[in-house]
Symmetry: C2
Subunit: 199 residues, 2 copies
Amino acid sequence: MLYTSPAIERAIEQLSRLPGIGRKSAQRLVFYLLKIPEEQVSELAQSLTELKQKVRYCSVCFNLTEEDPCPICRDPARDRSTICVVEQPNDVLALEKTGQYRGLYHVLGGSLSPLDGIGPENLRVRELVQRLQGGEVREVIVATNPNAEGEATAIYLAQLIKPLGIKLSRIARGIPVGSDLEYADEITLARALEGRIDL
Amino acid sequence: MLYTSPAIERAIEQLSRLPGIGRKSAQRLVFYLLKIPEEQVSELAQSLTELKQKVRYCSVCFNLTEEDPCPICRDPARDRSTICVVEQPNDVLALEKTGQYRGLYHVLGGSLSPLDGIGPENLRVRELVQRLQGGEVREVIVATNPNAEGEATAIYLAQLIKPLGIKLSRIARGIPVGSDLEYADEITLARALEGRIDL
């Protein structure tokens, strides 16, 4: 029988549920948390709770935001004739960091993956088409990940959007194939935007 | 200017303060937390808060515990004539997992490190000597880490404890079970030779 405090056990268990954190790392984290001042731990705990309370999806682009619509959708300085379609909110963050893109976004919430049972109805595809039917949008840049699911999603979107007479492009594969958008450096991402090709 | 939600920014900042978690990992964790149900996040946050509220140091062995003295110190089945001296509470956990040790512990709270300004007065050395003066203890096993600071601590403790007429031992340093001789460093190999046991 192992003598551990139930509170320690519980914290280790909770932390090791997080992606990329195994039991050993969780243990290390817990012993670290036990060493630092209590205020710092409650600050951390509070920031996690507030995260869920304050952050929601933008009803226009489905990016994460504290205000609806999100600051990007409300910004009059952004080019409302271009929409960049991405899989996840962190992709918006990555693209914003390049400082090269001044249009709007649309966050699908994933990519087509028949094996995982994810079809168009599980993504914000219908909402995208509705935005495009408004008539204001002249170009859609598809910036889904350059992997099998992302490419399939791009092809699917192309079939859907082309009949609407909207210019369609795909970010250039300056990004190494098989990797994730969020790991690309700013310059590579900026190049990928510059070199986008018509779909 | 980057559009991020202050709540997301704050959670990322808080998480990236943890050891072994960089900004990118913190970002991933935050987006993961935003995806899972709110109850799961508050469970995690609560477990971290409770950690600090419930867990304290055992006044006898200075292990982390929710009750004082800790379950090991109170257990009548443990051998009270042996004390194993370790640096940190997680070392107790590691040793308990072996299931081989039935004595008590003493957690120093670190190791001697003059460069970091850590002397004997910053460790629970005085408290260890007080326990040994009780007369009940017949053996002290020094299980500090086999690095420079841990060895220095072991030597310092030896000088302090030997005059008390208590048997003193140091955990064996050698080749880890399952590893290869050719990958072991010279010092470890030398120690493994020194510490050879009769077959």
